[in-house]
Homo-oligomer: 181 residues x 2
DNA sequence: GCCGCAATATACAGACCTGTCTATTTTCTT
DNA sequence: AAGAAAATAGACAGGTCTGTATATTGCGGC
């Protein structure tokens, strides 16, 4: 549900009520509850859908960066900067879901974090392709850097963190490449 | 209010109701509303109190690390690891507040972020003392790294991100020191 | 001893929330 | 065209929330 996504992302998962979404979308309550057993299931479905769209968008940008593995990795940060600059940017819904449902055993918390694990795996692949000495370690580090940049960009409404992270990533990658062999 | 802090941190700012806090603390409603005009003011007061305690605790650890500026900077990450390992660790309340109140104009959002700005300033000082070429840039980067590590440690219930961040910080600091002069 | 302040218990208003139920209308399939 | 499936409107239950009002109790200072 596009409306649900928009409101959840704009205002927060907990604060937005079912009624609000239904009223704005012009959908009856029973229609929703015939597809999803609860608000929680709706949120999980939306998170999973966003996960796929998100990673697809990122990978498109990586592919568009060409064949050079270093450029492909750095394209991630250019993509970040565009995202930060986009209208209505309010941080990462997955980080926010983890924050709103702080119990690690909660289904929403776990679903949200699976997205981050998948992104980290993709980063690790890019690091490996770029010839990093320890792709897993660099992937982990870049993942931390990116999450920090997302939170900071959200709170400060600035795109600067993307460039900071990009510069750091470039330095770390060079370090991991040169000290190899 | 210690009880309010405990519940807010454990379960979330939005989900915990005034009544719950009052019942658990054994305090009457009017007592609360004589001190704070609203739940929002209570949250802001708690955040500001936590900000001071938090930074004091961090700075204690830095002081305990001795005089060597590099060791002092790295002590931040040891402190992080202890924090991640502590009982009931549920991430950073300031990051979570920003996530729960995503509107950057919201007083709670702004109050929470002031804490992060203060921490970054302290980091920048440590970077400068350690002889980094561009202390502001390194402080910014370490800040991103730390925020990412906090979120990741929360979601994965692991202390590993502290060590990843520490190793990265050490590498970046060395880079910033050697390429100086 | 007494005054004044602060905390208390309790009830309440008004709004919101999720999820259920019923009965009707629309839409799709065959 | 007819029957089945899905969407609709709308009321409802039972609970939650914040914030207010009232009337009572405890307690420290002088």
């Amino acid at each position: 549900m596009a409306t649900a996504w928009r409101l959840f992302y704009r205002d927060g998962l907990r604060i937005v009520g079912i009624d609000t979404i239904l009223a704005e979308a012009g959908v009856a309550k029973m229609t929703l509850y015939n597809h999803f057993a609860s608000k929680e299931e709706l949120i999980i479905a939306i998170l999973e859908k966003r996960d796929l769209e998100f990673r697809a968008s990122l990978m498109d940008r990586v592919k568009a960066a060409g064949a050079d593995p270093t450029q492909r990795l750095l394209a991630v940060f250019d993509w970040l900067e565009d995202w930060f600059a986009s209208e209505g940017f309010k941080g990462c819904v997955f980080i926010r879901a983890v924050s709103e449902y702080p119990d690690p055993a909660h289904p929403i918390h776990q679903t949200a974090w699976r997205h981050k694990v998948a992104v980290k795996a993709a980063l690790t692949d890019l690091c490996a392709a770029a010839g990093a000495r320890d792709p897993a370690a660099l992937g982990e580090t870049l993942s931390l850097l990116i999450d920090g940049a997302i939170v900071t960009a959200h709170a400060t409404q600035s795109t600067a963190p993307a460039r900071s992270a990009r510069a750091t990533a470039a330095a770390l990658l060079q370090l991991a490449q040169t000290s190899a062999t």
